[in-house]
């Protein structure tokens, strides 16, 4: 700041002195000095309208060096991403940094850039984790649809690391989205059975699978048409659905998804006891299927807590 003050003072003196020099010998004697002072005064006043002499300049290189010296955890998200980019600017071949950057971009919903970063990383080094992240970003970019591009990425990821849970889940999801619910169910239940009990993904995936499989199977157009008609009664419709499900379960030709639907709809109607009954029926029926039992165990735990809270 002192340096700045000196520079500004010298600059002012040089410029003003240059301009006023022809007046130096003029009379009255005070003429030249007062013009000089006037110039400096006007310039100073204009400068100080909005000046920020205390704020240091921040050339990018300096800012980047400071970021590099800081613990990344202590930085904000934007700064963390920039730090990764700084690393990549000096070394374009850092596959881990590209992948990390891709994950951060994906988290901030900048999918196109994230995909680019993942692809850069994969060109340098194939990595199952990164491939799987790439696949998921493709899916996010396409509003949740599992596209062929995403599938290709997951297939490659699974080939490299068969233990990875995501590919299996999304293969199932693709089958589910194309309407082949049985295939989806098989893929998912096998996947859940395969995962280690301590794997946090196991619970996560089980919950997701329950949510997806227990979605009521309805024809959207039929619902709209019904809703538009005058004697539409949503309760009646739900009751009809429960009845159909019950009939199928009783007849023994209900699939796993039907069982889940029945549990879910009874739970939603507040009929916990009925829910437990339906759950028990499902347990009896799918005792040999390990994946199915995992989901049912989770459901049982959830229903019991609900009941506990109810009392």
């Amino acid at each position: 700041m002192i340096l700045l003050a000196i520079i500004l003072a010298v600059t002012a003196f040089v410029f003003a002195g240059f301009a006023v020099w022809p007046a130096a010998r003029l009379r009255p004697r005070w003429l030249a000095p007062s013009i000089l002072a006037g110039l400096a005064g006007v310039a100073g006043a204009t400068y100080f309208a909005g000046a920020q002499p205390q704020a240091p300049g921040v050339p990018y290189q300096q800012a980047a060096a400071e970021r590099m010296a800081t613990n990344p955890e202590a930085l904000g998200q934007a700064a963390q991403m920039e730090r990764l980019r700084d690393i990549l600017r000096t070394d374009e071949t850092d596959a881990a940094a590209w992948a990390q950057l891709g994950r951060m971009l994906a988290r901030s919903e900048r999918e196109l850039e994230a995909i680019n970063a993942f692809q850069r990383s994969l060109r340098l080094e194939l990595n199952a984790r990164t491939l799987s992240d790439l696949g998921q970003t493709f899916i996010n970019l396409n509003d949740g649809q599992v596209t062929d591009e995403a599938r290709a990425a997951f297939e490659e990821a699974q080939r490299m690391d068969a233990a990875l849970p995501e590919p299996g889940f999304f293969f199932g999801l693709q089958a589910f989205q194309s309407g082949d619910i049985d295939a989806a169910e098989t893929i998912w239940l096998d996947l859940i059975a395969r995962l280690d009990d301590r794997d946090p993904y196991k619970i996560l995936i089980s919950e997701q699978v329950f949510q997806l499989l227990s979605q009521p199977q309805v024809n959207a157009e039929a619902v709209e048409a019904a809703a538009a008609s005058e004697d539409f009664d949503p309760r009646q419709r739900i009751a009809d659905m429960v009845q159909r499900l019950e009939a199928r379960v009783a007849a023994g030709d209900a699939g796993f998804a039907d069982h889940l639907r029945l549990i879910r709809v009874r739970g939603m109607l507040g009929d916990n006891e009925g829910g437990m009954d339906a759950l028990q029926a499902a347990r009896d029926r799918f005792a040999e299927r390990e994946g199915a039992m995992t989901i049912l165990d989770l459901l049982a735990a959830a229903l019991q807590t609900d009941e506990g809270q109810g009392e």
């Binding site: 340096l3 301009a19 000046a51 934007a78």
Partner: protein, 642 residues
């Protein structure tokens, strides 16, 4: 610290401009030699300060110092070096700084080079120029300072709007600004002449070289802008009669009138008042151009910023310029003196009609451009004036200009000059006119365009005759002047023919193509061969390979780019230029078909003979340059004689 020094230098240039105004005024009033030297030194000092400030701004861009708001808003560390530098004038604040650099440059040039034989007038002009500098430097320092700081320094810059990252657009604003700001010299000299009560001849002689130079730069700037719009905006058009374009066209028209009327005024004292009036209006119109571009009061395809406060500043400056200048004009124009008078078929008469026609075009364009604003003032908002208005009003007058243009160079000053030889000669010009008209008819031009082409053919013949007939002129200066005149006039013809050809262009063909599919337009078959990634330093891009067949096979590679930092998509068109015209291809959005195929939107137009427009613009610019050189040489010769 660099930013703070830059801010201080802007303040210093502002303060020195005040000194320039005061001491220049005193020097003109009292003849004081020290005051004159102080005025000149203030101008030099202000120029040095502004230039250094501009250099510091470029350094801040090179450093990517995002503590400076303007840098953070217009740059990015990954931006290529050339565009980091060009971004220094790519946004509002930086371009205003550039404007000010040029304005003080004109002030210093006036102090150094103008009017060695009439120091009183020169000092007055330097003083007036100091006043202009105060207005614009004040606006820069207080309302749009490029050295404003951000306390919360962003980690990365926002990047310059990608469509502005382009070589033509990097040099378009500086060129245009040289033209706009160059006209400030004509303004200052005219105002100074009115204050000093000088005669029309002296004023015209003083402002002619400045106006010619400024008009030439303005032509180049407008041409660069049109070229940019042609290939960067991806619409295949080069002139849209958009407010922003009209904003540069109006000062161009006024300056074109000025450089012609000033010739007549210098020669014979005729049109003295009119020349002074044009000189005042030209710079006022230039400022209005800046106002229209910057204020966002009109909907424009090019609108760069919406900032009512800044618009008000510029409106205020414009009011001072026009109000002050015209009031002075009203009181003092009587002293300009009457000219020698002239006969009806003298060159003056033709220049007079030329000026009236140019003024009519400028007037109708001004009316059409401001009409929406006027209606808003009457409470009717949202009216816009379509291109049809401008085509319908401007074309007849421009065509009339073309009819008269070739005759004028054969007419003598003051005297009646219509002879049988001229009548015979101009009758012969009808033949090329008919040929050009026939050509326009064959390419299916509209009746108006056919007429315009016929007039252009007539004019071209006349211009060539002008060159042939006057080839015997003695002296380098006269030859440069003749070359300049002929080149510029022929350039106008080329632009007119180019516009005629362009008006026959067919509408674009837009279709979504999957790999292997084709578009056919008359004469061409285009096949989409494939699309690949072609990423650049600060963008991601798809590049289509399009195979073109028209007897021979060639390839076009249009791109579609995504600039992440600015979150903006742009298209880089691919153009295959030929004598017949440009095949113009751009790549649009991809879309999925039900079959799962990806189809890319491809847009194709054929723009007939666009090269005529470019050729014309280059000829006009070369002509203006040549005429400037001729003018400078003849002055030097006169200076040696006297």
């Amino acid at each position: 610290m660099i930013a703070e020094i830059g801010r201080f230098l802007v303040a210093l240039a502002f303060a020195l401009s005040i000194l320039q105004l005061l001491s220049g005024w005193r020097a003109a009033s009292t003849g004081s030699a020290p005051a004159m030297r102080i005025a000149a030194r203030s101008a030099y000092g202000a120029l040095a300060a502004a230039v250094i400030a501009f250099g510091l701004l470029i350094i801040l861009f090179l450093q990517s110092d995002f503590s400076v708001a303007y840098v953070a808003g217009h740059s990015h560390v990954d931006k290529p070096l050339f565009y980091k530098i060009a971004a220094a004038w790519g946004g509002h604040e930086g371009s205003m700084l550039l404007w000010c650099v040029m304005l003080v440059g004109v002030g210093a040039a006036l102090a150094r080079f103008a009017l060695r034989q009439d120091e009183q007038l020169k000092n007055r002009a330097v003083s007036i120029q100091g006043g202009l500098q105060i207005l614009f430097l004040g606006f820069l320092a207080f309302a749009s300072n490029p050295f404003d700081r951000l306390l919360d320094v962003p980690v990365q810059g926002a990047d310059l709007n990608p469509i502005l990252q382009d070589p033509a657009l990097a040099i378009h604003p500086p060129t245009l600004y040289i033209g706009y700001v160059g006209l400030s010299a004509a303004f200052s000299l005219a105002v100074a002449g009115l204050i000093e009560g000088r005669g029309g001849r002296a004023i015209a002689a003083a402002l002619r070289p400045w106006s010619l130079f400024a008009w030439t730069a303005l032509t180049a700037g407008i041409a660069l802008g049109a070229w940019w719009a042609y290939y960067e905006l991806g619409w295949g058009g080069w002139w849209f009669w958009d407010p922003v374009e009209n904003a540069s066209f109006m000062p161009w028209l006024v300056a074109a009138a000025l450089i012609h009327s000033a010739i007549a005024t210098e020669k014979s004292g005729n049109f003295a008042g009119w020349t002074a009036f044009l000189a005042i209006m030209a710079f006022t119109m230039s400022t209005m151009g800046a106002f229209l571009v910057r204020s966002g009061v009109l909907t424009s395809v090019h609108a760069f910023a919406l900032d009512p406060e800044r618009g008000l500043w510029i409106l205020g400056i414009m009011t001072i310029l026009a109000g002050g200048g015209l009031t002075l004009f009203a009181f003092r124009s009587g002293r300009l003196g009457h000219g020698d008078g002239f006969a009806l078929t003298s060159r003056e008469a033709f220049i007079g009609v030329n000026n009236l026609l140019l003024a009519a075009v400028a007037g109708t364009v001004l009316f059409g451009t401001l009409y929406p604003l006027v209606m808003t003032a009457f409470g009717v908002s949202g009216v816009s004036v379509g291109a049809a208005y401008f085509n319908a009003t401007a074309t007849p007058f421009l065509a009339a200009l073309l009819i008269l243009l070739p005759i004028a160079p054969f007419l003598p000053w003051k005297k009646d000059g219509f002879s049988r030889r001229l009548a015979v000669r101009s009758t012969l010009w009808i033949l090329p006119g008919v040929l050009a008209g026939l050509w326009a008819f064959l390419i299916e031009a509209s009746p108006v365009a056919i007429a315009a082409a016929a007039f252009a053919g007539w004019t071209l013949a006349g211009v060539v005759t002008d060159l042939w007939y006057h080839r015997v002129l003695q002296g380098a200066a006269a030859r440069f002047s003749l070359t300049g005149r002929v080149l510029a006039h022929a350039g106008v013809v080329a632009v007119a023919l180019g516009a005629v050809a362009d008006s026959t262009g067919r509408p674009e063909t837009v279709r979504a193509l999957a790999e292997g599919e084709q578009i056919e337009i008359p004469g061409f078959t285009l096949t989409l061969d494939g699309v690949r990634r072609a990423d650049g330093p600060n963008y991601l891009a798809d590049e289509a390979r399009i195979v073109v067949e028209n007897g021979r096979v060639s390839e076009l590679l249009p791109q579609r780019r995504y600039y992440a930092a600015a979150d903006t998509t742009t298209r880089e068109v691919a153009i295959r230029s030929g004598l017949g015209g440009d095949l113009y291809v751009s790549l649009g959005e991809p879309r999925a078909r039900d079959s799962g195929e990806i189809a890319y939107e491809v847009r194709v137009t054929f723009n007939p003979m666009v090269w005529l427009l470019g050729l014309g613009a280059i000829m006009i610019v070369l002509g203006g340059t040549s005429a400037s050189i001729g003018r400078a040489m003849s002055r030097r010769q006169k200076g040696m004689v006297s």
